[in-house]
């Protein structure tokens, strides 16, 4: 299928560029480490208060890293004058969306895994019992965040003050994911996250073409 091949080439290109430069991954990894400090300092020496806040802080870390990482989705194309190339690409542009989405989800899951590891080590959290549930919620939540984030990144790519507008647009739309992730253990939350993911992806597939018209 041409669609799948096109999408795959976008994924491959993005991941290859990332693997070579490691620009985004390094910056996000370092950012995650800094988050640890920020959270520790913000919540003070009270160990119990910190322990109670940990699930929320974890997802907060994911979201902040996601905002930074997702906002950069089209930055390479923009900086290297490839935006017109995207617009002029023949055929179904939503293949580009799928490719970018897959690359973003991969990148974000790697960063989130790193954040999880840092949390486990520095905050002395035992993850083993909750790991499968956690992984499931992480995947569902990340897909949702990336589905809308990729769409909005394309929308704000050519806009003035894009770094400001992107989070402003993304955060309210992500409220279901933000609320669902910390509480993901409960059954119907997984259902909500899954439903949100489906809605976001389908919407992205249907509307991405409109963003890349000349």
């Amino acid at each position: 299928m041409i669609f799948a091949r096109r999408a795959w080439s976008v994924v491959w290109k993005d991941l290859l560029v990332e693997r070579r430069s490691k620009e985004t991954l390094n910056a996000l990894a370092f950012f995650s480490l800094l988050l640890l400090f920020v959270f520790q300092f913000a919540l003070g020496p009270d160990r119990e208060r910190l322990a109670a806040a940990l699930p929320g802080l974890l997802w907060l870390g994911f979201v902040l890293a996601g905002l930074l990482g997702l906002g950069r989705t089209f930055v390479l194309e923009r900086e290297n004058d490839c935006w017109e190339g995207l617009i002029l690409a023949p055929g179904d542009k939503s293949a580009i969306y799928v490719g970018k989405l897959a690359a973003n989800v991969t990148l974000m899951l790697v960063v989130e895994g790193l954040i999880l590891l840092l949390f486990a080590v520095f905050f002395n959290v035992d993850l083993a019992p909750a790991l499968t549930g956690l992984a499931l919620v992480m995947i569902l939540g990340t897909v949702g965040l990336a589905a809308v984030g990729t769409l909005f990144a394309a929308m704000t790519a050519q806009v003035r003050a894009r770094e400001l507008l992107f989070p402003v647009l993304l955060l309210p739309v992500q409220v279901p994911v933000l609320l669902g992730e910390p509480l993901g253990a409960v059954g119907h939350w997984l259902g909500l996250l899954a439903a949100a993911d489906v809605i976001y992806i389908v919407t992205g597939l249907l509307t991405f073409d409109f963003l890349l018209e000349s």
Binding site: V148, L151, M155, T156, Q158, V159, R160, A161, L165, V168, L169, L171, P172, V173, V175, P176, L179, G180, L183, V186, H188, W189, L192, A195, A196, I199, Y200, T203, T207, F210, L211, E213
Partner: protein, 215 residues
């Protein structure tokens, strides 16, 4: 035509005021303060209707590229944000004497706050794109996404709250409403709806004028 609408709206608003203060009874548990409901609830109903209109107009624009659809979406979003802000403000004023606080993260207030922020973002996006056609297109996409998000936000916030608080702490107001109160609500809703139509009509005319003037 628009002027007729305006006069109708004004009359209906007066009728609504009458219903709210003269006809509707004084509520037992909350007292007079409960009358704020007659401006708070119709306001939020109109806001939701406004954003449904934005949704439909956005789809219509993406399908037909008719400028009229774009103008409708833009105008409806602006008036919708106006009424949403009014909902939050009146809700807050109502909450202070009844709950003892200006704000609480209960399900309904939180949902409406998220709604407000989403559509302010919509207006910001429009403001930040200079080319008219691209602004219309991008805003239409956002209009679709935001509207589809409304039920998701509603349920996630609802479950988030019921998980932490008993339902009795939800929005104050009579749980089963006597008909006279329902009637007062409906009259005010009709009044606000007419006002919405009037505002949207005027705003669309302004957009058309702005387009012609090259502003």
């Amino acid at each position: 035509m628009t002027r007729v609408l305006g006069w109708l709206a004004a009359l209906a608003l007066l009728a609504g005021l009458g219903m709210a203060f003269a006809v509707a009874p004084r509520e037992a548990t909350q007292g007079t303060v409960q009358r704020i409901m007659y401006v708070h609830v119709p306001s939020v109903w109109v806001a939701y209707c406004a954003f449904v209109v934005v949704f439909v107009a956005s789809i219509a624009y993406l399908a037909t590229r008719a400028e009229a659809a774009d103008r409708l979406a833009h105008a409806s979003a602006e008036v919708g944000v106006l009424f949403t802000g009014l909902t939050i403000a009146t809700g807050s004023i109502w909450g202070k004497p009844t709950w003892g606080t200006w704000w609480t993260w209960d399900a309904r207030l939180t949902s409406v706050a998220v709604l407000f922020v989403m559509y302010v973002g919509y207006l910001l996006l429009r403001g930040m794109i200079d080319e008219g056609e691209r602004a219309a297109r991008y805003a239409a996409v956002l209009g679709v996404v935001a509207a589809l998000n409304i039920p998701l936000v509603h349920f996630s916030v609802l479950w988030w709250r019921t998980l932490h608080q008993p339902p009795s702490l939800m929005k104050p107001g009579p749980s089963s409403m006597p008909p006279v109160i329902v009637r007062a609500l409906l009259v005010n809703f009709a009044a606000f709806a007419l006002l919405y139509l009037y505002f949207v009509a005027k705003r669309i005319r302004l957009l058309r004028l702005e387009g012609e003037a090259g502003a």
